[in-house]
């Protein structure tokens, strides 16, 4: 379970690069020399985080856009955020 708080904001790590390509998102982790591909929902979440929305706001947007319940959206968003933090793709801001 993630320890991220719902009011937390995130940004793309200064050494990572992110682009949305149609229905997926690509992170280039420059320091590790690795690429990380996220699916459409993942790309949407990252775009929302980049637009300075908090985790809570992102979760609300997911429920509206993808017609899923809040619990499901919270689980998905939190686990993606935790994974991206671990990979060094995003940082807390």
């Amino acid at each position: 379970m993630s320890t991220e708080t719902s009011t937390q904001h995130y940004r793309v790590d200064p050494h990572a690069r992110f682009r949305v390509m149609d229905d997926e998102g690509i992170f280039v982790l420059q320091d590790a020399g690795e690429v990380l591909v996220v699916n459409e929902v993942g790309a949407f979440i990252v775009e929302q985080l980049k637009a300075e929305h908090s985790l809570d706001e992102v979760i609300t947007s997911i429920t509206e856009r993808y017609a899923v319940d809040a619990e499901r959206a919270r689980l998905d968003a939190s686990s993606l955020v935790a994974e991206l933090l671990r990979a060094g793709a995003i940082t807390r801001s």
């Binding site: 690069r17 682009r19 390509m21 690509i26 591909v37």
Partner: protein, 354 residues
Amino acid sequence: MSYSDTVKRTWNDNRLMSVLLELTYACNLDCTFCYNDLSLGGKRLSLAQYRELLHDLASLGVLNLSLTGGEPLAHPHFFEIAGHARDLGFVIRLKTNGHAIKEAVARRIRDEVDPFLVEVSIHGATADTHDRQTRVPGSFTRLLANIRTMNSIGLRVKANSVLTRWNEHEVEELLAVCDDLDVALQIDPEVKPRDNGDRSTLAVEASLEGQARYRRALEAHSKRDVGVTKDPSPAAARRTNMAGTDKHCGAGSNNIAIDPYGSVLPCVQWRVSIGNLHERRVTEIWAGSGMLREVRETTKAARRKLEGLGDAGLLSNFCPGAAHTYSGDPLAIYPPAAQRMAASGRTRVRLTVV
């Protein structure tokens, strides 16, 4: 979906992913074999035009941006352009001769550009060989010192070299020099004609023995690193890479190049203009160039042609851009591709070589 699937999709869907900018043809070295066409003229793109271009490329979702030349650092606004590219979130590769990158410049590159990779060119394992190519005495010693500096401040450096008649006798030492510097080395075995078709650069092409020596040296070097893994045959590997697309390459489909005078090209090697930034923005060119459509069809035709030649075609390392530079015909087999086909030992097709 894996990254390679994503890249293939960009080929199929004509999704622009990588752009190479030749910022200037000015250079602080003077390599004998340099493919740049120094007779080319025109109105250079202004800093304002570069800013607009970078914004347009970011809006198209472009991920990779290579800055080259000539010597990119010789552009008077290099740091403004590269810094702006960094701010727009591109993955930047800097292709440079490394000559100007002493410590202060290296630090500016790291802090203001934050490139994914700095690719430097090395032309031999010794000062005699390298400086003979660059025609600037001391350039080898300076390059090695600058690579060490870049490494020490945390820039990621890779070395590129072109196999020539002048360095083919020391290819093993070249690999050792780069190992010693702790930088990966990529060797291009093919000297290209100049961009205007002038073949005088080919005077330094590696000999057949030199090519064979290079292949042996690479094999010995990779065995040392890899150990026990058994690679598929090169043709099988190429087939795997080509699965899922009907194009030979991504020229004009997921990548373009732009010269200092605003000409947009399908790829750095394919010197045919698909539009000019002094007349139209890159977004318009990308959306509606007739020449671009023709280029994309040509990459499909190249694929069909090479597949028709079997393994030999797959192993020819054919490049429609190089073919175009040799003869004006992007589908004509040109001498180095023919040589590789012959070396693969499987061609029974009679070829007309330009």
